[in-house]
């Protein structure tokens, strides 16, 4: 199959998922439990993306002090907690990663 056709179908499926429940909302009532559950979508999804980014090094779990991304991530978590500022958090994490790599030489 042609790459353009793959992208077209993939794009339509992606759009369909984004549109699905926005479109269907008027047609049925979302149960209270589901409404509650949806508040936990952002922290759950984002943590599920973040954790592997920090703990996996070339498809291996790495809990060691040589894992610079894990350490830099910890710095970013602390900065995020105290500053609640996105820009500071990113800068602190990137600077920490840079310094750790210079120090550890990874």
């Amino acid at each position: 199959m042609n790459i353009w056709l793959i992208m077209l179908i993939g794009g339509l499926i992606t759009f369909g998922m984004r549109f699905s429940l926005i479109f269907l909302f008027g047609k049925f009532q979302i149960p209270e439990t589901m409404r509650k559950a949806l508040h936990y979508v952002p922290p759950a999804v984002l943590s599920a993306i973040i954790f592997p980014e920090l703990f996996y090094r070339s498809s291996q779990l790495d809990f060691s002090l040589g894992n610079t991304r894990l350490l830099a991530g910890m710095v970013a978590i602390l900065v995020a907690w105290f500053s609640k500022n996105t820009l500071f958090t990113i800068l602190a994490g990137m600077i920490a990663l840079f310094l750790l790599q210079v120090l550890i030489g990874a």
Binding site: R18, F25, T33, A37, L54, I90
Partner: protein, 233 residues
Amino acid sequence: MNEARKTFWDGVRAEIPLLIGVFPFGVIYGVLALNAGLSQAASQMMSSMIFAGSAQFITAQLVSESAPAMVIILTIAVVNLRHMLYSASLAPYLKSLPIKWKVLLSYLLTDEAYAPSILQYEKEGVRPVSHWFLLGAGCALWSTWQISTAFGIFLGTSIPENWHLDFALALTFIAMVVPALKNRPMVAAAISAGVVSLFAYSLPFKLGLIFAALTGIVIGTILEGQKSLAGAR
């Protein structure tokens, strides 16, 4: 109308910190898609036809491995399943909009447009101009994504790996999650999802991500239920 325009720009402003993480991600996508053997036109157009970062990276990877078309399409569908959760989450705030608006905002509904918008809606509730916020955030992200993709295609040759620009995206997500951890159910949802994601990481097609997220959502919801029971006593 002024109120609408102001809300649109509020959305753009809320999106700006995220764009710092998105821009390098888009550049890297452009570079990788080209290296995977996609034409310049296809690499660029994927950013508007699919418009979903991780799905685009995986598509480029699978194309370079000459994976069958059905596998690629199924993978895109599975990786983007989470957008149904976003769709359900935003639906109550968009329910009274005309269908044209729903189509437009659905097209723009990515992780990075969803996050600031849901925070805003939960804080402010529904106002007649609420949808302009999501439009602003979505348009800011969309244009940045197109421009950064073009930039990556233009660079073409590989970016030095020791820049680690991709890490900026993980840091962006950290900046979004951590301030939201205000109570025990939220913390439990985040940590349980994270831990499960580590164990489920090797599952194919990013299913681990979906499984981990569902675990976190269930645990958070159960703990919140217990808390309100205890409060009622």
